[in-house]
């Protein structure tokens, strides 16, 4: 290979590497830096030098980890997330298997209809459901926005918005399986249900793990739906989810340092959970051809 060929891949990767550095690496580094600092106010906080940024090490992180308000947020999101993950991925798997089975009619229509909510922005989806939940407009009756029901109502919005995308991921994986595999199973006397459970689901495992990882990451960072629903009900506080607390700390109360520390805790939780899942399927979900 000559020199030009050797240099080419680096040149082609330059835009991605520059963007990665500017919009990923530098902001991450800056978050870590911010999380270890705090403003110290001396005297009355007036005059030059009265407000000083000082280094506080891991104090902010420790405060974020032990923050009761944040813990309450984690618990709410845990309940909400468990509900969303189980129902959304369960339905996505069920629909994908049904679509792939030989015995179904109107498959094309159902596939398009179930995928359609993917095209609806989270804000608009929350608006639609929010108005459907609103007692003065709701065709279903009352109570969707009460404190006891609001988690379920919000989970419903997430399931509605996410089931189609996950179904499509699983369905395209199923379509890539050679049909002869099923023929062989049928000749051995397997029923459609047995084929689904014994042949299709095992093949789908890596795709299920992948969709689970993405869904967990999305759930930990839930922000748009509760923020959009807040004007319609007082059952959602400004710190309902961890990310909402970060937003409030950074932009409402103006404490960037603890907001940075809290975002690091959220990132750590996402990473631990995602890597936990990925370890289980090492080599399947990512980088299988490297």
């Amino acid at each position: 290979m000559n020199r030009r060929v050797k240099a080419a891949p680096y040149l082609f990767l330059t835009p991605a590497i520059v963007l990665f550095t500017l919009f990923l690496a530098v902001p991450i580094g800056y978050t870590v830096y911010l999380s270890m600092r705090r403003v110290k106010v001396s005297g009355l906080g007036l005059g030059k030098g009265a407000r000083q940024e000082i280094f506080v090490g891991l104090d902010n992180l420790a405060a974020a980890v032990t923050d009761g308000e944040l813990w309450a947020g984690w618990l709410r999101v845990l309940g909400y997330g468990a509900l969303v993950l189980v129902v959304m991925l369960g339905l996505a798997l069920l629909f994908a298997l049904l679509l792939d089975s030989a015995h179904v009619r109107l498959a094309r229509f159902s596939r398009i209809a179930i995928f359609l909510p993917y095209a609806v922005p989270g804000v608009a989806a929350t608006l639609l459901w929010g108005f459907l939940y609103l007692p003065s407009l709701s065709p279903f009756g009352l109570g969707f926005l009460s404190a006891s029901a609001v988690t379920f109502s919000m989970a419903n919005i997430a399931v509605w918005g996410g089931v189609g995308f996950n179904m499509l991921v699983l369905y395209t994986t199923l379509r890539a399986i050679p049909r002869e595999l099923y023929e062989a199973a049928r000749i051995d006397g397997a029923t459609e249900t047995q084929i689904a459970l014994r042949v299709k689901i095992p093949i789908l495992v890596p795709a299920i793990i992948l969709t689970t990882v993405f869904s967990v990451i999305a759930t930990i960072q839930v922000f748009t739906e509760p923020t959009t629903l807040r004007p319609l009900t007082n059952a959602i506080s400004s710190t309902w989810s961890p990310l909402m607390k970060v937003y409030r700390d950074a932009f409402v109360t103006g404490d960037l340092y603890s907001a940075a520390a809290t975002s690091i805790v959220i990132a750590a939780v996402s990473l631990v959970l995602s890597f936990g899942f990925l370890r289980v399927v090492r080599g399947h979900a990512f980088g299988e051809e490297s």
Partner: protein
């Protein structure tokens, strides 16, 4: 018979569940403010045109701006993102070079970094260089999309035969020419898929523009709709505007989605084996 009916019935229930809110807003947007609370839920009203007129007149037509902004963010962002992903994916798939795996793993690691860790420092860095509350603040951070690079790499591996590149080199074509004239044209079907997913992702994004922008003339539809709701939650007179706005914000995407159906593939490798 039941073998056929039960699966079809279940799927249709799923379809109805997914279509219901969309068809509801379609009907609700046709109602005048008075009809919204008095007529039964699924009876069409008579106010669609006046609702649309009122929405576009709202605050000197700011809704028009939101629509134009959204198109700019989603169209421009998705185009740039697709270009960067395709070129990077091609380089990672078709060249052997020192650092290849390290660069790939680093870029892919970006998938796992939550947007929240980035949003605040990105905002601070943008305000430091005077770019906060500009179009750039929403456009630039969304160009790099690690998952698209991953997909582009899979697609390039399968769609571009090594022999074609070798033949090109023997004919004396430079690497730039091979990329732009040979590789990219072969990658077009995969790039369309990447473009569509990026377009929808940016169109639907709320957090980034919500944090970056203060001036509502630069808002995309999502943030605009949110402010409309925040302003109108306790004013039932604004409800019909909000509902009409929600309808108008999803119509373009649903249209795009229905016309480009065959490109919605999440498993790009399947497209390359044909």
């Amino acid at each position: 018979m039941t073998r056929r009916l039960a699966p079809t019935g279940l799927l249709l229930l799923g379809a109805i569940y997914c279509l219901f809110p969309v068809s509801w807003v379609l009907v609700a947007a046709t109602k005048s403010p008075a009809e919204l609370f008095t007529t039964s839920t699924l009876t069409p009203g008579t106010g669609l045109l006046s609702n649309i007129e009122e929405l576009f007149a709202y605050r000197e037509g700011v809704f028009w701006l939101w629509m134009a902004n959204t198109l700019l963010y989603a169209g421009g962002g998705a185009l740039l993102s697709t270009a960067v992903s395709a070129v990077s994916g091609f380089a990672l798939a078709k060249y052997r070079f020192p650092g290849r795996n390290a660069i790939f793993n680093l870029l892919i690691g970006g998938i796992l970094v939550p947007a929240v860790v980035l949003a605040i420092p990105q905002y601070l860095l943008f305000s430091r260089v005077g770019l906060a509350d500009t179009y750039w603040a929403v456009l630039l951070p969304q160009i790099l999309h690690p998952y698209s690079i991953y997909l582009a790499r899979i697609y390039a591996t399968a769609a571009i035969p090594d022999s074609l590149l070798e033949a090109g080199r023997l004919d004396g074509a430079g690497e730039w020419r091979l990329m732009s004239r040979v590789a990219i044209p072969l990658m077009v079907p995969g790039m369309v898929t990447i473009f569509l997913f990026q377009f929808v992702a940016i169109w639907n994004n709320f957090l980034l523009p919500f944090i970056m922008l203060g001036d509502d003339g630069k808002f995309p539809l999502t943030v605009g709709l949110y402010t409309l709701l925040a302003a109108g939650a306790n004013q039932p007179t604004l409800y019909n505007l909000i509902l009409t706005g929600a309808l108008l914000s999803i119509v373009p995407l649903i249209a795009l989605f229905l016309t480009m159906q065959r490109y919605w593939r999440t498993d790009l490798s399947s497209g390359a084996v044909k």
